[in-house]
């Protein structure tokens, strides 16, 4: 690969992101779109600067609910994934229910959660959990189910128990799937927590955006969106790095 091409590949994400903001700025200004409809990004950034205090407070709240829900999803997702992935019977038994749960739009559950837990942090955590749980389960179960049958035969002949095969082969084999699911799950968790905050909370970026739009402070709404996107990218990057670090072997073959 030529050095030019290498550099291009390295900086391409930055280039594309900057280009998008420039285009947005240009369109908003040249077409003279009123800023209560589509503010140029510079105005959103200004609003972000102006409301830096409240934004960071609400962003921390969102980060907290998101990570709490995500953490629950990882723990229970791993558990359920290992259980249904290592037993054909349980897999068959639980798969339809899991699909069903996953098909229900989570926003439809928020009112129910409010009845049960009141508005605030708990529904946001639970929504984040519900939405990010499924990819973890499915990936872990898939990883366990993709053990080569010949390898299983080789080990079974030696007298390996199901548990031994699970520990020596199944779990390591499913790790790449698990880590791949984490980066997807964490971005989905943001979707869940923000949805819940917009409907039923008085804290968090979702709430901030809701109240800003009620006051027609559209630049602040966009500032909120940018903050969520940035947090999502940050978390994705962290888990993508973790994935590379822990299961590098899966990327070479």
């Amino acid at each position: 690969m030529s050095p030019l091409r290498k550099n291009l590949e390295r900086f391409s994400p930055v280039i594309v992101t900057v280009a998008m903001f420039v285009a947005w700025e240009a369109v908003a200004r040249l077409a003279k779109i009123p800023s209560y409809i589509l503010p140029p990004p510079s105005e959103a950034v200004m609003a972000g600067y102006e409301f830096a205090g409240p934004i960071s407070k609400h962003a921390l709240q969102t980060l907290y609910t998101t990570l709490a829900g995500f953490g629950l999803a990882v723990v229970f997702g791993l558990l359920v994934g290992v259980i249904i992935g290592s037993s054909k019977l349980l897999y068959r038994a639980f798969y339809p229910i899991l699909i069903g749960f996953n098909s229900v739009p989570k926003v439809a559950l928020v009112p129910l959660l409010v009845i049960w837990f009141g508005i605030g942090t708990v529904p946001a955590i639970i929504t984040a959990f519900l939405i990010s749980f499924f990819p973890v389960v499915v990936n872990v179960a898939t990883g366990l189910a993709t053990i080569e049958p010949e390898l299983e035969d080789v080990l079974r002949v030696l007298g390996a128990s199901k548990l031994t095969i699970l520990l020596k082969v199944g779990i390591p084999n499913s790790l790449p799937y698990f880590f791949a699911s984490l980066k997807i799950a964490v971005t989905l968790a943001f979707v869940g927590s923000v949805i819940s905050e917009t409907v039923a909370s008085n804290a968090g970026i979702g709430y901030l955006m809701m109240s800003a739009s009620a006051r027609f402070n559209v630049p602040l709404v966009f500032a909120g969106l940018i903050v969520i996107a940035a947090m999502g990218i940050g978390m994705y990057a962290i888990f993508a790095t973790l994935e590379k670090r822990t299961t590098g072997w899966a990327f070479r073959s």
Binding site: D153, V154, V157, G159, W249, A250, S253
Partner: protein, 288 residues
């Protein structure tokens, strides 16, 4: 042993003396009906230390035969005896290798071939205490197949031939008495394959193994085996056995000698016949 007398099975729990593997009138059905018989009326005797090759048309039940002998699958009818005992569950003194090497990508070669030691007793409980001795044993084995310089490489850093060598080592690490190979060299190029024939022949001579090799390659069968068995097409049974009585130690040169070529020819004729006749013995299948 007295209980044996009133056992319904005339054969009881013990096989005939002097035989290491005895397959006795075995049927195996994958489904419920007679149509799903994979092997039928299978009989095969193997003495300890024998090298046996099994050839036959695709789908005739060769892999099934291996599963029966290793206890991975119980026979629907009949019985299998190994080392004098009726097979009932799996046997840990068996080593197995398939065409697909199935090495674990997250382990290096050395740790890959040591996997069986973490499973089979008594090695499993000794492994930690006698780590040094076991490492030495594993390295010796790698040396005999020429993989010593690659012990810390991962599978993706090995060529197909090297992976298959590692696969053989993994099958042999726990010093099995019976080695079961299912088309182990099927995916390799001709040169590598012949190289590995010699590796296998050497290993077998050094360890006094009993080997059952399933293969599609008649030259491979004749080169390696003491006896070659030909199976009929599905439902499979043994229709022909041929002792390979070539004098002296076989080398790759042997493959070009007339006596060798004659045997290959003869076997080819038998395979052609079972393929053209279609499923033999289908007339004996009781209609449901």
């Amino acid at each position: 042993m007295t209980a044996q007398a009133d056992h319904a099975d005339p054969h009881g729990q013990t096989g005939r003396a002097g035989l290491f593997v005895e397959i006795k009138d075995v049927d195996l059905a994958y489904g419920e009906d007679a149509e799903s018989l994979a092997v039928q009326g299978l009989n095969l005797d193997i003495r300890e230390g024998d090298f046996v090759a099994v050839v036959g048309p695709s789908g005739c039940g060769k892999s099934t035969l291996l599963k029966l002998v290793t206890g991975l699958m119980p026979p629907t009818q009949g019985a299998v005896y190994v080392d004098g005992n009726r097979v009932n569950g799996t046997l840990s003194f068996v080593g197995m290798a398939f065409q697909n090497p199935t090495l674990l990508p997250w382990r290096n070669t050395l740790r890959n071939i040591m996997l069986p030691l973490e499973i089979v007793e008594p090695h499993r409980s000794r492994l930690r205490r006698e780590k040094v001795a076991y490492l030495e044993h594993a390295r010796n084995l790698l040396r005999t197949v020429g993989l010593a310089p690659y012990e810390s490489k991962h599978p993706w850093e090995l060529s197909g031939g090297m992976r298959q060598r590692a696969n053989l080592c993994r099958a042999l690490i726990h010093d099995p008495r019976l080695l079961m190979l299912d088309e182990p060299f099927g995916a390799l190029d001709a040169f590598t394959r012949e190289e590995l024939w010699c590796v296998l022949a050497d290993l077998r001579r050094a360890k006094q193994l009993t080997v059952v090799l399933v293969t599609h390659d008649l030259r491979e069968a004749v080169f390696l085996a003491d006896t070659v068995y030909v199976m009929s097409s599905r439902p499979g049974r043994i229709v022909h056995s041929r002792r390979v009585d070539l004098p002296g130690t076989r080398t790759l040169e042997t493959c070009y000698e007339p006596a060798f070529v004659d045997i290959v020819h003869e076997l080819r004729g038998h395979i052609e016949r079972v393929r053209c006749d279609g499923p033999q013995g289908i007339a004996d299948v009781p209609t449901a």
